[in-house]
């Protein structure tokens, strides 16, 4: 198809432009190259019982699954300081308890699973834990077992599954039952202001974060975080 455009330029002169268009029969490899860095976001792909809806960011080589979680299982050692129970990740003597920290309204915590498919196997490539604010600024929570880029040091678990649903489920089961230790620990001061519990008659109530929560975390920015669907 050919068309002619007449352009009136700023200096008052006229220019004729001939435009020729034809459909190119490009191969898949050309399309793959052109779309290499394009990712597609899909919300609410599936619902994981007990956790909620899982969103996807589909890339050419992998898929990122993200789920906003309302709690962080903290299987760690704790100590009572001034009637407040706080984590003692580096301790070997304080009491070990499987407490559950309820995420407060002002913080959004997102658990992320990266999967890759090869033949009939879907593999977990990694798990990440991010916190974010209302403007989608990413933060690293003041927890041990988290790398600077918020990748979780998960330990060994069965990461090869039949499908992505099972990968996300297995990752969250591992997250749910893992113990937090002192690996990759920074200062305990931020952790103890962030994760606080009040012993009640028959349970442990999550207390508000002491101070501005973003000030207790490290702000992060990574290519992977940019892909997370919140």
């Amino acid at each position: 198809m050919e068309k002619t455009e007449i352009i009136l330029q700023a200096d008052g002169s006229f220019v004729e432009r001939l435009v020729s268009e034809r459909t190119l029969n490009v191969g898949q490899s050309v399309l793959d190259t052109l779309t290499e860095n394009l990712n597609r976001q899909i919300r609410n792909v599936f619902n994981l019982p007990g956790w909620g809806f899982v969103h996807a960011n589909v890339g050419l080589n992998d898929t990122l699954w993200s789920i906003a979680i309302d709690r962080i299982p903290l299987h760690a050692r704790f100590k009572l300081i001034n009637q407040v129970l706080v984590p003692m990740f580096a301790s070997t003597t304080d009491i070990e308890m499987p407490l559950v920290w309820q995420v407060p309204a002002e913080v959004k915590v997102v658990f992320v699973v990266c999967t890759k498919q090869e033949d009939d196997i879907v593999s977990v490539e990694g798990n990440w834990l991010f916190a974010c604010d209302a403007d989608k600024r990413g933060y690293r929570l003041p927890l041990p077992n988290l790398h600077d880029d918020c990748r979780i040091c998960t330990g060994q678990f069965e990461g090869d599954q039949e499908n992505a649903f099972e990968c996300v489920k297995a990752s969250l089961e591992q997250f749910n039952q893992s113990k937090w230790n002192a690996d990759l620990m920074r200062t305990s001061e931020q952790s103890q202001k962030f994760f606080r519990f009040q012993p009640t008659k028959d349970s442990f109530e999550t207390l508000p974060i002491q101070g501005e929560w973003t000030g207790l975390c490290n702000k992060i920015s990574t290519a992977l975080w940019e892909r997370v669907v919140t």
Binding site: D149, L184, K219, W225
Partner: protein, 73 residues
């Protein structure tokens, strides 16, 4: 002096720096760290390509700072 724009996540800042200002200088700069909130373990990218710390940042460049991965302590 030259002007550069630095992005970190959703935040960005445009600032004048010395002519010889390098990507390493930017990554170590307390001024940029305070303004954008990045830490010590970073990488600097231009158009998605990681830059060498010793390279002088060309005038008018937009630099994206990203948190780098670390190895297990």
């Amino acid at each position: 002096m030259k002007t550069i724009t630095v992005k970190y996540g959703v935040d960005q800042i445009t600032k004048q720096v010395e002519d010889g200002f390098t990507f390493g200088d930017l990554q170590d700069s307390d001024t940029f760290k305070a303004a954008l909130g990045f830490g010590d373990n970073t990488k600097a990218l231009v158009d998605g390509i990681e830059q060498n710390r010793d390279t002088i940042i060309p005038a008018g460049t937009t630099v994206r700072i990203e948190t780098a991965a670390n190895t297990k302590a």
